[in-house]
Amino acid sequence: MGKTMAEKILAKAAGVKEASPGDLLDVYPHVAMSHENAGLVSKSFKEIGTGKLYDPDRIVIIFDHRVPAETEKTAEGHKTVREFVKKHGIKNFFDINTGICHQVLPEQGFCRPGEVLVGTDSHTTTHGAFGVFSTGIGATEMAAVWATGKLWLMVPETIKVVVKGKFKPGVYSKDLILHLIGKLRADGADYKSIEFFGQAIDEMTIASRMVLTNLSMEAGAKSAMIPPDQKTVDYVKSVTNKPFEVIKPDPDAHYCQTVEIDLDQLTPQIACPHAVDNVKPLSELAGTVINQALIGSCTNGRLEDLEEGARQLKGRKVHPEVRMLVIPASWKVYRQALDKGLIAAYIDAGAVVLNPGCGPCLGAHQGLMAPGERCISSTNRNFQGRMGSTQSEVYLASPAAVVASAVAGMITLPEVK
């Protein structure tokens, strides 16, 4: 019987001939990424006591969660990591002036088809957009990967998602994945991998594909992948000279479940408080007054997101009672947005542009909310207290819906002309 991408990629990385769901493999990841929690990782690594990294070149550290440091405590954490990096000769270190890890990894050529990538961040599933088996782990486990080069992974079953039809105007990959999460529920893909298929996926930009694999985590996915095509290969070759082997699923691969989504029927979606699987057609929430609107994060902070948002502005101002925050996902995105006049458009509209980073998405840094406040956001989680007060609310939608709502002062469908 044929094999899924997860089965083939994990078998290769473990050096075994073939793998099936449920097999426990010792896998050697090609890339091991951490952000600020590299501080915790280094603490556990020191406790292991070998003092020697298995391969410093596989380690990537990117500061993004609290940049620049918002407290003395964070500054101390940053300092500890910088010292560790220097001492151990870790050359893949990206300080506060680079961007969000899940945007910087592909930009810097660390997402290569057919490889395994682990990261101490749950949204590490993002890199499946490049045909990488990528998954989130904790800091202690990462310390073991630093020391031994490997970790155990159970080969997951795979859900096949088949996308039919074409996106209607004003409907984006964010709406597609929110709809899928609503269908699968928060734990529908727990311990499982997802593979995406369909003409709409083939036609999608790399950035839009990343939204699908990033948010698959919110259905519990261990990994989420898009079989690489020429677009993938061209992108990866433009950012790295390292050789890679494209691994695609076999045509007769076995899937534990098949989910079909018809884009012809899909309208703008919104995830309501306090769960990402609490998804409704956005039109049902239209008119809900908001206090804050946010574009950014590893989910929707890329150039096309800033462009789609700016298209909604049409020279209008952000509603006087709304605080609009714009956070480009990386320095590269920031620079491109500047060149295209997008930053100017947002500033002229009265938005606050913040430096690339995770920002308020996880409630750790900047732009938090008071009790009773409500935010519409292009980010990835809306758990209680996620963006400040436990008495505040976060609604998740596409960047276009976020900006349309920021202008109207209430949740609003994106304008489609």
């Binding site: 426990l24 603490k43 749950s122 155990w152 734990d187 519990g220 209680q384």
Partner: protein, 165 residues
């Protein structure tokens, strides 16, 4: 590996943001983390929890962020074992790696209520409610995972293995 303690009971989809809020992620000291455990879900938890106590929950406990502080803070607060109908995969790994026992028990919700006293044995999967006499059977974890838990987590486990090698 037998544990006994008082039950704190919660529902489905308890996420790591409410177990250990993002605003505290810069806090690394376990004793400090213990005081913040579950703050956004149950403000009384950190005050009331005693060493050995047991968390009982529904489906998909620990979903969301990969922050292992969610497991660290519960262990530091004295929790001996989390028994849930199911776990989110990253929390499951983090708990094992940090030496916090976990048990997957689909019937747990129907045999235990908040305040009950439980006695559990992860190596056999036995769950006994000392308050109402009811029993349930949890899934037994694979031997290599029980070994990591028995050693107190992944770091002591690795140290032990390396010393032998």
């Amino acid at each position: 590996m037998k544990f006994s303690g008082t039950v704190f009971k919660y529902g489905n989809d308890i996420n790591t943001d409410v177990i250990f809020p993002g605003r505290y992620l810069k806090v690394w000291e376990p004793a400090e983390m213990a005081k913040l455990a579950m703050e956004d879900l149950d403000k009384e938890f950190a005050k009331k929890v005693r060493k050995g106590d047991i968390i009982v929950a529904g489906k998909y406990f620990g979903c969301g962020s990969s922050r292992e502080q969610a497991a660290t803070c519960l262990k530091a607060a004295g929790v001996s074992v989390v028994i849930a109908e199911s776990f989110a995969r990253i929390f499951y790994r983090n708990a094992i790696n940090l030496g916090l026992a976990i048990m997957v028990c689909p019937e747990i919700g129907s045999i235990a209520e908040a305040g009950d006293r439980l006695e559990v044995e992860p190596t056999t999967g036995e769950v006994k409610n000392l308050t109402n006499g009811k029993t349930a059977k949890a899934k037994v974890l694979p031997p290599f995972i029980l070994e990591i838990l028995g050693d107190g987590g992944l770091i002591p486990h690795l140290k032990k293995k390396m010393a032998k090698a």
